[in-house]
C-alpha cells in the first residue's frame, strides 16, 4: 500500500489538522514506512477470528437511577477559551 501526499491531505482534513507543507512531506514519508511495517499482519490468515476490542467482557453496566451532584455550570465553563451567558462560545458557524 503506498500513501500519497493527497492521502495525507485527506486524512489531515478528517483529523482536523491544518498541517504545514513541511509536515505534509514528513508524514507522507513516515506514514509510508510505518504502514509498510504493519503490512506484516497480512501474513496471517485471520479468517473467522473474532476481533478483540476490549479485554474486559463488554456488557451493559447498570446502576440505580439516583440523583447525585454534578459539575456546576460555572465550574464546567471555567476552562473554556471563550464563554458567554453560561454557554461555550465558538466562532460564527452559519454565514
Amino acid at each position: 500500500m503506498s500513501i500519497t501526499k493527497k492521502d495525507v491531505l485527506h486524512v489531515a482534513d478528517l483529523a482536523r489538522l491544518a498541517l504545514t507543507e513541511k509536515e505534509i512531506d514528513l508524514y507522507t514519508a513516515q506514514l509510508q514506512r510505518i504502514l509498510s511495517y504493519v503490512e506484516k499482519l497480512s501474513e496471517l490468515n485471520t479468517e473467522g477470528v473474532p476481533p478483540t476490542t476490549t479485554t474486559v467482557p463488554p456488557e451493559t453496566v447498570y446502576r440505580e437511577d439516583r440523583v447525585t451532584v454534578s459539575l456546576a455550570q460555572e465550574e464546567a465553563l471555567r476552562n473554556a477559551p471563550s464563554s458567554e451567558r453560561g454557554c461555550f462560545k465558538v466562532p460564527k458557524i452559519i454565514e
Binding site: 483529523a15 482536523r16 509536515e23 514506512r33 510505518i34 477470528v49 476490549t54 474486559v56 446502576r63 460564527k92
Partner: protein
Amino acid sequence: MDLTSLTIHGLSDKLKKKETTSVEVTKAFLKRMEEVEKKVHAFITVTADEALKRAAEADGRIAKGEGVTPLTGVPIAVKDIFCTKGVKTTCASRILDNFVPPYDSTVVRKLKEAGTVILGKNNMDEFAMGSSTENSAFSPTYNPWALDRVPGGSSGGSAASVAASECVASVGTDTGGSIRQPASCCGVVGIKPTYGRVSRFGMIAFASSLDQAGPFTKDVTDSAIMLNAIAGWDPSDSTSIKAEVPDYRTFLTAEVNGLKIGIPKEYFIEGMDKEVEDSVKEALEVLKKAGATLVPVTLPHTEYAVGVYYLVATAEASSNLARYDGVKYGLRVSETGGLLDMYKKTRDEGFGGEVKRRIMLGTYSLSAGYYDAYYKKASQVRTLIKNDFDAAFRSCDVIATPTAPTAAFKLGERVEDPLTMYLSDIFTISCNLAGIPGMSLPCGFTKDGLPIGLQILGRTLDEGTVLKTAYAYEQATEWHKRRPKL
C-alpha cells in the same frame, strides 16, 4: 539519616514511631528537588504549599492515631495525566497548557483518602505517546543514572522522580509499556495491573482499551502497598472490574517452591543486547534456586504485537483526541476564519509532532476503505496474541522476560526515526493487548552502570503471583538497593 532514601514501609514505620514527621519528610523532599530537579526535570508542576498543608494534616492524624494507613504522610508524585482538582494538568501538551481540572481522578482521590502528600505532577511524553519522555512539550526528563540518557517513557518523569529520590513513590500509566519500560531504564519497580483493576476515571485518555494506571516504587513491598490503595471497582469507570481486591501484601512471602515460570523463546531474540540477556538469564537462575521451575513456553504471535499496537492504539487515540477542539478547555488559536479553521489551527499548533503523527495514522486506519485492512485486521491479530497467553498460562503461573531489549538509550538517538522508537516497546506491548498484569523490577546493571529490568507477566487479575515472584527475587538480590549518584 537521609529521609529521602526511605521506602514507603520504612518511612511509615518511622512516622508511626514518631521518629520523624510528615512535615519534616516533605521538607526534605522539597529540598532534594531544589538540588536535583534542574538536572533531572522529573516534574511539570510542584505543589509545595499544598503538600506542606497536607503533611501537617497527616501529622495531626498520626498524633491522634486516627485513620492512619501505611500511606499516611508519605510524599508521592503523580504523572501529569491524572486530573487533580485545582492543580494544572497538562498531559505535557501545549493544548492543555492552562487546563485546571474541576475534579480529581479516582486514582488521585484514593491516594488523598489514603493520606498521601502529593508533591507535584510528573513530566511525561505528550499524551503518553512515546518511549523516552522527549515528546514532552516542555522539556525532556533526564535519566538519574546517566544524564545524557532518556529515562524511558512515557511515564519517564514518574520513574526518574523515584530513582532520584524526589518522592518516595509515584503513579504513572501504561498503554504499551509506559510504566515498565521507564521502571527498567531508571532501576525502580513498576507494575501495570490488569486492565480494569484500577479506575481510569479522570485519567486523560490515550488508548482506552489499553490504558492502565500503576505505581513506581523503590521495592516490591511498596508496590503492593500502593496497589492496595488504588485498585478496585469504580462506578465512574464502566470498564473497571467488579472483583474483590486482595491485600497484596499477603503475597509477599518469598515462597516460590513449585511455582512455574514460563520462559517464552520469542523474547530472547538474536540481536538483543548481550548484557540485558545475561542479566535476565541470571535472574531466572536466582528464581530457580529459590525453588521455582522454569518452563519453556511459546508466544508465537509476538512478532506481530508492535504492528497491532500501533494500529489499535493510534485508532483509539485519533478518536479520543478529537475532544481537543479549542471549545471546552485548553488552547484556542484563530477566531477569524470560522469554526473549521479554528479547529484545524488550534490542533496543529497545540499538538506536538508525535501526537499528530499518531492521530494521522489512527485516522487513516479507521478511514473508509482502509478499516478492514488495518483496524479490523489488527483487532483480529490481537485475539491471536491474547490466545497465545491463555495457552501459555495453562503450563505456567507467570511468564518472565526482559522488560526492554536494551538499557536506556541516549537522548536524541531515536527521535528522527519513529519506527525504531516504537520497537523499544517490543517486549511490553503484548501485555496491554492481552489486558494482563505486568511488572518490571531491577535485575542488574550494564558495565556502564545503567539499570536492567526483569519483566514478570501474570494471569488476568493475578497481580498477587506476580508480586510473589518479584518479592522472592528481590529478597535474594541487592539490585533494588542501589541509588544513582546525582
